[in-house]
Symmetry: C2
Subunit: 355 residues, 2 copies
């Protein structure tokens, strides 16, 4: 069954792609074997994460980027891991028609992963679906995630380049950054930059990144909780020089009005520059190696779980411990220890049943 699917997949047939994605996304039987077969063909696409708070216009940016990539003759896969995304069938949008034009282009594949169950592993599933799209031959993969939850931040880690999209309206943007978005941003994009507060947010981000001196610090409110006053021109200059010498990347801050496509070419240019940096610094190889290590870990975890918890004897034995656990006469830790001791043989070499 997998062989036939792989044949159709290699012939670049759309139904085979959709089916392969579904198998991997839902961790259905054969998913591991499929990923193993596709493994030699990955790491050709560039994986770009687009992360930001709800309402930042991530889908509009994604759609505009997809349009420009298509004009340049590149194929595009889109993975929306955001229950509030229009790609997930959500809210009505003013530019819905343009979005549909992109969605109907056969050079674009869009998959919403918003409706997955709450079993966790969303970042692993996203990485694996990226692998499928990559192996199919897409040139660019855009991963749209809402930058709120922990899972979502982990998803951003699966991209080669991460764009953090903010808007002036999200008054607590700097707070949001402190809550984890800061560490993942390779590029900042301030969308809806023509609205009140747009320039100010750009300014604040540049101050925070040490890209700008302290000439107008008196305008920056203290209650944001970020010590913006620590920035000063001499330090900014030293940082930029040091970064350049060390071959490090300093995230640029771009201005967008995505609904008018303003700033999108500049965003793509910045991503191209970041990719050159990733290649020349060795960071790309390291990110890909890390994804491989994660894949090995996931496969081991999957096997341990399947062998241990898939054994009927395990569930029955744990049920037997339940009254003692409820009474507090034994603790989960002790049960876990005993369970592992008596189950070591279950974890041994595979009989092929769990792949």
């Amino acid at each position: 069954m997998i062989d036939r699917l792989l044949e159709d997949f290699a012939a670049r047939r759309a139904p085979a792609l959709a089916r392969a994605v579904s198998i991997v996304e839902n961790r259905r039987s054969g998913a591991e074997a499929l990923l193993a077969k596709l493994h030699p063909r990955i790491n050709r696409a560039r994986r770009i994460g687009l992360t930001g708070p709800p309402g930042a216009g991530k889908s509009t940016v994604t759609m505009q980027m997809a349009r420009l990539f298509r004009e340049a003759g590149l194929t595009v896969g889109v993975i929306a891991v955001d229950p509030t995304s229009p790609f997930s069938g959500g809210a009505l949008l003013g530019d819905r028609v343009r979005m549909e034009a992109v969605a109907l282009d056969p050079g674009v594949f869009i998959r919403s992963m918003a409706t997955r169950g709450s079993l966790g592993g969303l970042s692993s599933a996203t990485r694996d679906v990226c692998d499928v799209l990559d192996a199919f031959g897409f040139d660019r993969i855009l991963i749209e995630t809402v930058g709120v939850g922990q899972s979502e931040l982990e998803i951003a880690h699966t991209a080669d380049s991460s764009v953090v999209i903010l808007v002036p309206e999200s008054g607590d943007s700097i707070q949001t950054l402190k809550a984890g978005l800061m560490e993942i941003a390779d590029i900042f994009a301030v969308n809806k930059c023509d609205r009140p507060g747009g320039e100010r947010l750009v300014h604040e981000l540049e101050l925070m990144l040490g890209l700008r001196g302290g000439e107008s610090l008196q305008n920056v409110p203290a209650h944001h909780g970020v010590d913006l006053r620590a920035a000063n021109p001499a330090r900014a200059a030293r940082k930029a020089a040091a970064d350049a010498t060390a071959g490090q990347w300093t995230p640029p801050v771009l201005k967008l009005v995505a609904k008018d496509a303003a700033g999108i070419p500049e965003l793509i240019t910045a991503l191209d520059k970041h990719f050159v940096y990733l290649e020349s610094s060795g960071a790309l190889r390291e990110r890909r190696r890390q994804r491989l290590r994660d894949r090995v870990r996931d496969a081991v975890d999957h096997r341990v779980r399947a062998r241990l918890w898939g054994a009927p004897s395990t569930a029955a034995w744990v049920d037997d411990q339940m009254s003692a656990l409820e009474a507090g006469t034994t603790a989960p830790l002790a049960v876990a220890d005993t369970l592992l001791s008596r189950s070591v043989q279950l974890l041994g070499p595979s009989d092929g049943a769990d792949s």
Copy 2:
């Protein structure tokens, strides 16, 4: 060290509580042993989850509930798993002063878990911190989570009762529900219910739950994507009767104006009713058993990871496979299989090093 901590903890000393919470939250050395010692003292508190989109006023509801619980002589633990929560040091609030009054009450313990790393396991950490607060003797534990990401929905599953808080402004509330909140709600609360759209949202929720007939269905827009027209008086009556017979719980829809404490007593009454339902139906025991099963699984996972990946030989061996993985001549699946075969002895009985 753990013994001294446990002594202070048993004497209900606040520093011991804070330290125990930190050890468990950050999975520091001794966390498993500490949880094992506290295990006999859990399941006395009621665990209440408060989940909703950013801006729904979850923190205000939490604070008002804490205030009423205190007036009734009950102690309260608050866990805020929300980077946008004021409890996490976030945005300024109009009622900040009242919130501080609650926070300074020695019968209230507040812990923000917003700044945890992106290592995942947030729902496990939340459940374990609940266990610590429970063992310390808090009567009520309020868990505030933003209902957006998958991790956050999993966190909601760790509560005995889950309140889903919505506001009229979140125009896509019904969409949000479809994205996972629906399944976790034991009680719906429409906050800021005095604003335009408040009554309408209550109405829509009641229709969706089959609590209300179809008399004004023509007012409900079709594009919400929920087939509200399926509701009809006869069906609603049948559903309510069937639920009552089967001893099932139908989530009520409450109206709040939390900043004025309006609706908070009714929310607490509804929670009391839900707790009676949980006890009488056996659902409480089942939820607690499920948490115990999850604890055993987590402890097993923790041990397998520590023994397998903590062994220097494992990392070295995986590094050796990296060139073949990068070249595509072997796949992560095959590496995982071989790794497990050669590592079975590592997974055997503990030498005590990993607890």
